[in-house]
C-alpha cells in the first residue's frame, strides 16, 4: 500500500517534462485547428452543407465505404491475427513482416499498387487499398493481446466441456475484445478520413469528406464550406469514439492475462492457419509487388526506360527532378524525426494524461491542413510557405504513433534503477543520459524509423503546404499517377516501387 502511494506521488512530479511537447502541439496543432473552427464555422453553412445533395452524398459515401472497409479488414485480419498469434510454421516471420509493413507505407503507394493490378478506379479498388493498409493495424493492436491469452484457460474450459466456439466466446473474446474494438475504431477513422487512396483511386466520381475538404479549401477557395465539412467529419469521428469508448477499455479479466504463450509447433490442423495466412498475404502483398512489376513492364514488354529516366533525374510532366524530390523527402523525414522523437521521449518520461497527444489521430490531416494555411498567413506568423513547416507538421502527425512506440520501453524501466542512480550521485539529467538512454536505444531507433516512415508517406497535410520546391515523394507519385501518358504513369510506379523498397528497408532495420 505504502509502495503504491509512493509510486503515485513520484509520478506526479514528472509533469513538467510535458511543457515542451504541450507548447509544440498547441502551436502547431491545437491553435490552427481551433482557429479554423472559430473563424470559419458558421452554423448556417453547416445546415447548407447538410442540405446540399452533392455534399450529402459525399458524406454518405465516406461513411459506408469506411464501414465496409472496416468490416472487410476485420474479416481478413482477425483470422490472420489468430493464425500468427497461435501457430508457427515455415514463413511465419516473413508473413508477419509482409502483413505489418503497409502500416508505415504511404497510402498513395498502396493505392498505386492496387491501381497497378486493376488499372481501373472505383469503389472496389478503394476498399481493397484500405484493407491492404489496415490489416497491419489490426495485427499490430490485436496480435500482442491474442498471443498473451493464457492457453491454460482455454484448456481448462475444454476440460469443463466447452466447445471451441464456446471457449472463444467465453474465454478468448473477453481478453481481446477491447483490442479488437480499438483496432476497428482506428481502421474506421483511417478509412473515413482517407485522402491519398481517394486521390489516386477515386477518380472524378468518388470523393470522401477528406478529399472534398481539400477541394473546397484549396481548389475552390471556399473555406467556410470546407470548415463545415471538417466539423461534420469531426462530429462523426467523435460519435464513433463515443460509441466505442466503453468496449475499447480493457475489462478487469484482461488484467489476469499471463506472459506470452509459446506458439504451437505442431498444430493438429496446420493447414487452416496456413491457408488463412497465405490468403491475407496474397491480398496485402500483391499490390506492393505490382508497383515493382509495373515499374519495369509497359504494355506487356519489359522496359527499364522509366528507371533509366529516374536515374537520369528527369520526372515527366513535373517541374522538379528526381534527386530534388528524394532529397526533400529525406531531409523532411530526418528533421521530423529529430523533432518528434525527443518530444515523444519527454511525453513518455512523464506520466501525465496522454489524451492531448492522441488528438492528431482523431483530427484529419485535411482539417489540420486548412488550419495551417489560414493560421500561419499573417506576420509574424507567416509560415505557410516556409519549407520547415512541412517536417514540423509531419512531427505533429507522427507524435501519437511514436509515443505509443516508445511508451512500453520507457514504462519498462524500473523506477528503482533511477533511484539507484540518484543514490550513487547522478543528477536526473545524468541518470537520463547514462541509464535511460542506453536502455531505450533500440526503442529510440525503432521510433526514429517509424517517425521517418510517417514523414516519408505523409500526404494529406503536405498537400496543403507543398510548393514546387518542396515536393515530397507521395505528392510526386499522386501527381504523376493523376496525369495521362504511359511514361508519366510509369514514372509514378517507379517512385512507388522505390518507396516500397525504402520504407520496408528502413522499418526492417529500425
Amino acid at each position: 500500500m505504502a509502495e503504491l502511494m509512493e509510486r503515485h506521488h513520484l509520478v506526479s512530479k514528472t509533469k513538467t517534462l510535458l511543457i515542451a511537447p504541450v507548447v509544440f502541439l498547441s502551436v502547431f496543432f491545437v491553435v490552427p485547428v481551433a482557429n479554423t473552427f472559430l473563424r470559419y464555422f458558421q452554423f448556417s453553412e453547416f445546415i447548407d452543407v447538410l442540405g446540399n445533395q452533392s455534399l450529402r452524398s459525399v458524406a454518405w459515401f465516406s461513411l459506408w465505404q469506411a464501414i465496409i472497409s472496416t468490416l472487410l479488414t476485420l474479416v481478413i485480419a482477425l483470422p490472420a491475427t489468430w493464425a500468427l498469434s497461435r501457430y508457427t510454421f515455415l514463413g511465419t516471420r516473413i508473413a508477419r513482416g509482409i502483413l505489418t509493413a503497409p502500416f508505415v507505407l504511404p497510402a498513395v503507394v498502396v493505392a498505386a499498387g492496387v491501381l497497378a493490378i486493376t488499372d481501373s478506379r472505383g469503389v472496389a479498388t478503394i476498399i481493397w487499398a484500405h484493407v491492404v493498409f489496415n490489416v497491419s493495424v489490426v495485427l499490430r493492436i490485436v496480435g500482442p493481446r491474442w498471443s498473451m491469452v493464457n492457453h491454460r484457460l482455454e484448456n481448462g474450459a475444454a476440460t469443463l466441456g466447452a466447445r471451441p466456439s464456446h471457449t472463444f466466446a467465453l474465454v478468448v473474446w473477453p481478453h481481446i475484445s477491447a483490442a479488437v474494438t480499438n483496432a476497428a475504431t482506428l481502421v474506421f477513422i483511417y478509412c473515413f478520413t482517407s485522402f491519398g487512396v481517394i486521390t489516386i483511386l477515386g477518380g472524378v466520381s468518388r470523393r470522401t469528406l477528406e478529399s472534398e475538404i481539400f477541394t473546397q479549401a484549396v481548389r475552390l477557395g471556399n473555406t467556410s464550406t470546407a470548415t463545415a465539412l471538417a466539423v461534420l467529419q469531426a462530429v462523426i469521428i467523435g460519435a464513433v469514439f463515443f460509441i466505442t469508448r466503453r468496449s475499447s477499455r480493457p475489462n478487469s479479466t484482461s488484467l489476469h492475462v499471463s506472459s506470452p504463450q509459446p506458439l504451437h509447433t505442431k498444430p493438429r490442423h496446420r493447414i487452416t492457419p496456413l491457408l488463412i495466412t497465405a490468403t491475407a498475404v496474397l491480398i496485402v502483398a500483391s499490390p506492393l509487388l505490382a508497383t515493382i512489376y509495373r515499374s519495369v513492364v509497359v504494355n506487356g514488354q519489359v522496359s527499364l526506360s522509366a528507371w533509366r529516366s529516374f536515374f537520369s533525374g528527369a520526372l515527366p510532366a513535373l517541374s522538379v527532378s528526381t534527386q530534388s524530390v528524394i532529397f526533400t523527402s529525406l531531409i523532411f523525414a530526418t528533421a521530423a524525426a529529430c523533432i518528434c522523437v525527443p518530444l515523444a521521449l519527454l511525453v513518455t518520461s512523464s506520466s501525465a494524461p496522454r489524451a492531448l497527444f492522441s488528438l492528431p489521430l482523431v483530427i484529419s490531416a485535411a482539417t489540420l491542413g486548412i488550419g495551417l494555411i489560414i493560421t500561419f498567413t499573417t506576420s509574424p506568423y507567416e509560415w505557410r510557405s516556409e519549407r520547415w513547416l512541412i517536417p514540423v507538421i509531419h512531427a505533429v502527425i507522427a507524435l501519437p504513433l511514436v509515443v505509443r512506440a516508445l511508451e512500453p520501453a520507457t514504462q519498462a524501466i524500473p523506477r528503482s534503477l533511477r533511484n539507484a542512480s540518484a543514490t550513487l550521485g547522478a543528477s536526473p539529467f545524468i541518470t537520463w543520459v547514462r541509464v535511460d538512454m542506453p536502455i531505450l536505444k533500440p526503442a529510440i531507433l525503432r521510433a526514429t524509423g517509424l517517425s521517418m516512415a510517417v514523414s516519408l508517406g505523409e500526404f494529406g497535410a503536405t498537400s496543403f503546404l507543398s510548393r514546387s520546391g518542396s515536393t515530397t515523394l507521395p505528392i510526386a507519385i499522386a501527381q504523376l499517377l493523376g496525369r495521362p501518358g504511359v511514361a508519366t504513369q510509369q514514372a509514378g510506379f517507379v517512385l512507388a516501387a522505390l518507396m516500397v523498397l525504402v520504407t520496408v528497408g528502413v522499418m526492417s532495420r529500425a
Partner: protein
C-alpha cells in the same frame, strides 16, 4: 552520525511515516524491523530524498540534508532486488558512482577491484548483469553502493528472497564488509535474526 528527527511522510491525506525519530552513531548499524507495508521502505526513501518529507529533518553529522536532492546527499542505497543497471557489466555498475565524481580512470579501476575482492567476486568483473545469480547480484549491488564512499548506507531488505545457503553466506559477508568499512548503516528487515546478527541496535517501526 545519521540523525532523523520527527520525520513524517504523507501522500495526500495518507500518512505513511508518522513522526519517526532515530539516531545511528557513526560506524554503527541500526536495524529497523516491522511487518510488511508499514512504511519502512518509504522511511528509507525519505532519508535518501527519493520521496519528500512532510515534516521533520534528516542530518548527517552536523549538516542538514532534508532539502537536498538525492544525488547530493551522499547516501547509498541497496534495494531488495539490487537494481543493477542491466545494460552495463559488473565492473561498469560498480564504476558508475565513481565516474559521477570524475575520479581518474586508474583510480576507478583500483577501487572497483578492491570492492570486487571485498565481496569475493573478482572473477565476475566483466560478466553481464542478466547472467548473475540472485546472491551475486546482491553482492555487486553492495559493492556498487559502497564504491563512492557514502556517508550513510541504507540497506532495504538486502537478504530477502534468497535460498537459505546464499542468505547465510551473504549475511556473514555483509556483516564483515560493514565492520571492515566502518560504514554507518541503516538496515530494514522483517527478520529479527538478521537484525540481531547484523545490527548494533534494533528499532521497531511504530504501528500507525
Amino acid at each position: 552520525m545519521l540523525n532523523v528527527s520527527n520525520l513524517s511522510v504523507a501522500f495526500g491525506n495518507n500518512v505513511i511515516v508518522d513522526n519517526v525519530s532515530l539516531v545511528v552513531p557513526t560506524g554503527e548499524t541500526l536495524a529497523i524491523t516491522g511487518p510488511s507495508g508499514i512504511g519502512k521502505t518509504t522511511l528509507l526513501h525519505a532519508i535518501c530524498g527519493i520521496v519528500h518529507t512532510t515534516h521533520g529533518t534528516v542530518h548527517i553529522d552536523d549538516s542538514d540534508i532534508t532539502t537536498l536532492p538525492t544525488h547530493k546527499r551522499g547516501i547509498g542505497l541497496v534495494s531488495q532486488t539490487g537494481d543493477l543497471f542491466p545494460n552495463m557489466t559488473v565492473s561498469q555498475n560498480i564504476e558508475f558512482g565513481l565516474r559521477i565524481t570524475r575520479m581518474p580512470k586508474a583510480d576507478r579501476i583500483t577501487r572497483v577491484n578492491e570492492l570486487l575482492e571485498m565481496v569475493n567476486l573478482v572473477h565476475l568483473a566483466h560478466r553481464n548483469v542478466p547472467e548473475l545469480s540472485g546472491g551475486e547480484a546482491r553482492r555487486i549491488a553492495l559493492a556498487r553502493a559502497l564504491a563512492p564512499h557514502p556517508r550513510v548506507l541504507l540497506l532495504d531488505e538486502p537478504l530477502s528472497g534468497l535460498d537459505q545457503t546464499t542468505h547465510d553466506e551473504l549475511m556473514t559477508d555483509l556483516s564483515r564488509v560493514l565492520k571492515q568499512t566502518a560504514t554507518t548503516a541503516l538496515l530494514v528487515t522483517h527478520d529479527h535474526s538478521e537484525a540481531d546478527f547484523l545490527a548494533d541496535t534494533t528499532f521497531v517501526f511504530p504501528h500507525k
